[in-house]
Amino acid sequence: MNTAAALPILIPLVLMIIMIINRSDTLARWTGVAGSLLLLACSVYLFATVRHSGILTLQAGGWRAPFGITLVIDLFSGLMLMAGSVILVAVSVFSVRFIREDCCNNRFYVFFFSLAMGLNGSFITGDLFNLFVWFEVLLLSSFVLITYGSTPQQLKGGVKYLALNLLGSLFFLAGTGLFYGETGTLNMARLAELLREGEYSASLNVSAILIFVAFGIKGAVFPFHFWLPASYHTPNITITSLFAGLLSKVGVYAMIRVFTLLFMHDQVFWQHLFLVVAGLTMVIGGMAATAQYETRRVLSYHIISQIGYMVMGLGIYTPLGIAGALFFMIHNMLAKTAAFMVAGLIRRVKGSYELMEIGGLYRERPLLAVLFIVPAFALAGVPPLSGFFAKFILIKAGLEDGHYWITAMAVFTAMLTLFSMIKIWNEAFLKKTPGNHPGINPPVRLNWIDLFPPAFLGSLSILMGLFAGPVFRFALEAARVLTNVSPYIESVIYGLSP
């Protein structure tokens, strides 16, 4: 039976219940690590199964596809599940020491797994309305996490985050409602089938735009990006690194999934829209990052700029382009989370996130310098790290398909990224500690639990660069499934095994 397909949702649910019943902080901490490892094992197993025997579907309660609740795991979902659980593992280890600053750890882990549940749910659902529901699960748990320390600043950031994302949910729900009114179903495979018959294409454009705006807000794409830098620098750094790795990527995941399945028959319009939006997102995010002098803000604007690359891959809409977007997404989840973690370590050592107030780390903490340089250069796209190949694939796809403008912008943005990474490097590591900010005395000791998560993610990023071939092959296979949707439709609608 395919019950295993529900495990990515069930495991976090069970763990949450355990932690609601038993409120010990120690138990919660170790359940956090063990549970994330379990999720990782489960998603690797699911990915292997999908690779071996094709798309995995689960019709809850045995109700047939367009009527019941469908869970679908294809290669794309499998890849995202794996990358997501890797981030969860790293963050759960990181939180063991970093969350302790606040009270009531137990509640952090409850919402950590609630976030994991929403995340996995959005990755594996096969139904537009359920996608909305999982987005809400994600939104609510991330709101609780973002206001976790309840300082005024966090509440301010959290309210901005919540307000704009609720607006996004509203758009999404409106778009979904229009869809349902027009077609009578919300099962994505069935919708894709109906839209391919072409009867509905004209009147559903409104709903397509609404859904595009909704995912744009969730994914922090250019005209809707402002909530992200307004809120990401407020919470505990563990939570920021968790969000940096996962939240906006879910928006991009949904965008790729829904638009490849449903709307790409009107290719010319969407391709143009995606490419323009992608270019603006990249450049504006990158330029805004260069103006910042706070590590977390620099990195936050970078998230936006790099979302642009993923949207660019979708806009190119060849198997190579989408494979590039997937590769970029996985690379970005690893490198970005690691970079935020190192920012947290710098803060722990030097007592500040402001670049003006810190310095001299290269001499004092060479290990930290290594840990920073790996994700930073990966983000900037220096070979042989993962970011180089991610950008290489996208640029190659852009040139092959004749999108010269966007390719030029991608190269230009890579320069901007390099510039701001070098800025952090110069300010935090190379220059002398500013005289009026001597930092923390006596020096803080970092133990292996602090250093392990960024080292783990950094080495994964190196491995992803060294073994770019196999990873790219997975991404390309997943992209082929996305561009040729008939296997997806067939396995959901017709390939049922009650």
């Binding site: 039976m1 069930l10 649910l13 219940i17 809850a60 309660g61 009650p498």
Partner: protein
């Protein structure tokens, strides 16, 4: 508030609300109703009581802690998945037993009822949690 009228009225309305909650819970699978609405109704009964007396009194007299209700409900939801899983049917399939009672006829019992009861308990628990933790914050730690 300390109004005798409200306190007397509460004595009757409480049972009425709980009765409606039970009805909504039991008819829920085939007709409008279900665990969520039943949970709201049952929560309303407690909220009403706390209006007539005070939150502290209701909290003191309440036989179980809200978190216990919530956890029991969540565990019941998980348990309702088990029969389908163990008998190797698709995830969340309803498993029914239909004993025939001497006078009333066939009685339909199944995992959807267990699931709905789980929802009922957790919704009630959450509402009580809201009520008590907003009104008496130091009690909820």
């Amino acid at each position: 508030m300390n109004s005798v009228i409200l306190q007397i009225a509460e004595k009757y309305i409480r049972w009425l609300l709980l009765f409606f909650a039970l009805t909504a819970l039991l008819r829920g699978h085939h007709f409008p109703g279900g665990g969520f609405i039943a949970g709201l109704l049952a929560g309303l009964a407690v909220v009403f009581r706390s209006l007539a007396y005070s939150e502290e009194k209701v909290f003191r007299d309440f036989p179980v802690r809200p978190v216990t209700l919530l956890s029991a409900g969540l565990i019941m939801i998980l348990l309702s998945f088990l029969p389908a899983w163990l008998t190797n049917r698709p995830f969340m399939t309803g498993v029914w037993v239909k004993p025939v009672l001497p006078l009333a006829g066939e009685l339909k019992l199944g995992t959807p009822l267990v699931f709905d009861t789980g929802i009922f308990l957790s919704v009630t628990g959450v509402i009580l949690l809201f009520l008590f933790s907003l009104k008496i914050p130091e009690k909820w730690k």
